[in-house]
Symmetry: C3
């Protein structure tokens, strides 16, 4: 189950540079490509002629050319041309609304008529020169909600990421979860502790001493369908913590866009945005590499957790206070999906 009338991150612009991109999203095979004015377009990845994936073809003058027999399709899903054929009566492909914004390509898998670009979240860090961003993409075989759970409960850092960002003090600082409409916030503050290795690197990257006590914070924000942005940082202890002046802290936003591939697999767009030394590309690369290693430690756990849950479908999981962020996020998702199904019973019937 996942909302379909919503914006998901589909890919990044570099993935469309050379050729069309085939990608399954919300169980639908889509092909993404750039149209005549460079805009991003998306249609079903299925040639109406003989069923070949259009993503195996190429883009010519902003139209998709099927790599099998040359059918030419526009971004509206209509066949424009095919050598030696009258194409007027060809069935149209489903099209998907797609928008390039904030350094990502966003797609609306549901009803195109409802797709309002204004609903794409504003990402200040993606637009401002005060910020630098680096990130990557993982293909993980788990329900997208397991990844939301993972990100809304950072106590796992103590165990999964013991050598980089984990530390015992995370377990000892109880998180506080609040729900504001469709937003869930789980916040944790740890004062007067020593920074773990990743944050010592970040302190040094910001020209700060890394061997003195710090105040550390983690503020996880879930918004539907599956965006988790986490404000994280450390400030030299006693300088105001989260509210300290920039010269006393290293802080950033962990960026997580989770796009369902199927019910049990995801495209996981991860990254980090920081507002210190934004021009230092070597630092961006170094943080990106460190984060990539840390996040890859979650892969096996999530995939084996998924396998275990499929093996024991009837078992109820515990919902502890540390799980409140994930639990509240799931409630919001259930409400949204129920509303979507009530509004569009046809859509659901087709999915079932």
């Amino acid at each position: 189950m996942f909302p379909k009338n919503t914006w998901y991150v589909a890919c990044t612009p570099d993935e469309l540079e050379q050729q069309p991109l085939g990608r399954q999203i919300c169980a639908e095979p889509m092909v993404f490509f750039r149209g005549p004015e460079g805009q991003v377009l998306a249609v079903e990845d299925f040639c109406p002629h003989r069923g070949a994936p259009l993503s195996l073809g190429k883009v010519v003058d902003g139209q998709l050319v099927c790599g099998y027999h040359g059918l030419v399709m526009g971004g509206d899903g209509k066949t424009q041309h095919m050598p030696g054929q009258r194409v007027r009566g060809f069935p149209a492909n489903k099209r998907y609304q797609a928008v390039e914004r904030h350094g990502f390509i966003w797609v609306w898998p549901g009803d195109p008529a409802l797709a309002d670009p204004a609903l794409i979240p504003h990402l200040e860090w993606a637009e401002s020169e005060q910020w630098a961003y680096g990130g990557g993409l993982f293909d993980i075989k788990c329900d997208y909600r397991l990844m939301i759970d993972n990100l809304m409960d950072l106590t796992h850092e103590t165990y999964v990421h013991a050598s980089s960002i984990g530390q015992k003090e995370i377990d000892e600082a109880p998180p506080v979860t609040t729900v504001n409409g469709d937003e869930v916030v789980t916040a944790r503050y740890m004062d007067n502790i020593m920074a773990p290795p990743f944050w010592r690197m970040a302190l040094r990257g910001n020209g700060l001493a890394d061997d003195v006590p710090v105040d550390r914070w983690q503020i996880c924000r879930f918004t539907p369908p599956s965006h988790v942005l986490i404000e994280v940082g450390v400030a030299h202890a006693g300088k105001g913590g989260y509210d300290a002046e920039p010269q006393h802290k290293a802080s950033s936003i962990v960026v997580d866009f989770i796009t369902p591939q199927t019910e049990t697999s995801i495209w996981y767009f991860w990254g980090m945005a920081r507002n210190f030394n934004p021009g230092d590309k070597a630092l961006t690369a170094s943080i990106r590499e460190g984060q990539g290693q840390i996040f890859s430690e979650d892969l096996e756990m999530l995939e084996q957790q998924q396998q275990n849950l499929l093996r024991y479908p009837e078992r109820n999981l515990l919902k502890l206070n540390i799980d409140a962020g994930g639990v509240q996020s799931r409630k919001i998702l259930e409400r949204i999906v129920a509303a979507e199904r009530a509004a569009q019973p046809d859509l659901i019937a087709r999915q079932a």
Copy 2:
């Protein structure tokens, strides 16, 4: 669905040189081996003793010796001997009629009583010293009819094989499809064009200039169950095209024997027979290598097309004039399979 009372190419003689060959054909596991007089024999690949594949054993004095406990089976499917056992009451294995002819081993997966070797197509190019042949075998995960479609509509060359045999003029020359009984012929003629790279190589291989206009032809002939032989060639323009004298042209026959493995996989025997410079083994090797590269370009397209069709089973594909060859071939196959099922309801019940 595939006809069973018909001859398919099972393997080539070199595949039987060292040991028995296990190969699934029309969803039946078969083992091929050479009998006492060197003749080719085929039985079920299942030892009646404990179910081991007989193809894991060896051939001794023209009989199969199971590699597990030494049961000895003859080409009639009957157990001949087993150490320390009376074998008279052992159940017999199903046997298959198999014939070596024209450089291939042919098998009749259906009722052995109906297997008439006279029904194996005559292949002049395989017998005459005027011809040379080179070919190979691919294992492809697609319905055998997708490969027939592929071969009966060569407009795909323009897109899939753009750098070797494809050229825009193929798209521009409408093919003509005719049906003669169980044979389907799709022919295309392109006059006064420049030859694409593969044919320039062939012209040079025949001692002809490769930088002058040519007349090019493609005559695809389907015969059941799944043989597609394609006469292809180029002649210096104005010398008579297809009917030009040998010294003005380079021509050959593309050989395609498609044997269903399962409903969605095939053994694809491909090759090229040519009647110029038949003694030039280096040319044979060079053409074989070029053709192997060209045909391998179809693999991903066919396998992903198959995946897409499985994903959208309810979608109707278009049947355009360029698809007429495949469409007519499928009609013949449907007629044959229907007749077979009507004649042998038992056989079908066992398959279902």
Copy 3:
């Protein structure tokens, strides 16, 4: 089908040295680890918090610490602790009785109340200094009964292991199978033959001439659920064969513990115990390597036999006199499983 109220070999002590071990046995995912006193413990490999496999965690002070969020579980399946949580109400995990004995870890997958360590077979060769043992573990995709069949009918050595322990004389010496309660014995004696390569190596390893005739024996003993111990050896001919004095023979026990993973896969613990030159570690290594190579020859045969049997589920296999050992062993297993199901209908319902 497999008995569950019985002892299986689960693993060897070295597999528990560094971390907990996750292993599926009788279709149940289990995690094995060492408790506070070094004893072996086993519980379900499923964290009651969020379903992560506990085997991805670590062992601290004899308790399992989940690698995701730090839940601490004891060997009784009860959660002992979790950072910041009250764990009293947490559901308990299923626990399994496990015992370390004779160099192996044994597990009782069924009702823990019935698990009596006295039922673990006594293995004299594992305890006595007169004996040396070397062995290994294979993961094989076949029904555990196919491996029992394999080991209770050594005529396969002639075909599968032709270059090491196989010889024509095995086929020629009819085996005799006897059933004593739950034990099945299949014995074969071959007098005055030349030893095959493996046994020539063993003769030399025992300081005996390897180029003179020998008397050879194979005495296969099956005991439930799936232990097959095979007394094998050769003595210089005329010295008494099986009963010859130690200075005239090389003999050993082939050790086979077969543990079902699923209905069609096994953990196969194989090894050889010998009572000559027990202190010669190089000889132990050399025999172990030879045996590993020999036993690996069975893998493809067994896995492909399994595939063939799944393909033809309705076919009846032959039961020859050479198969009597396997046939009788299967009868005992059927009787045990039937009794188990009659006694514990609930257990079975849960399995179905």
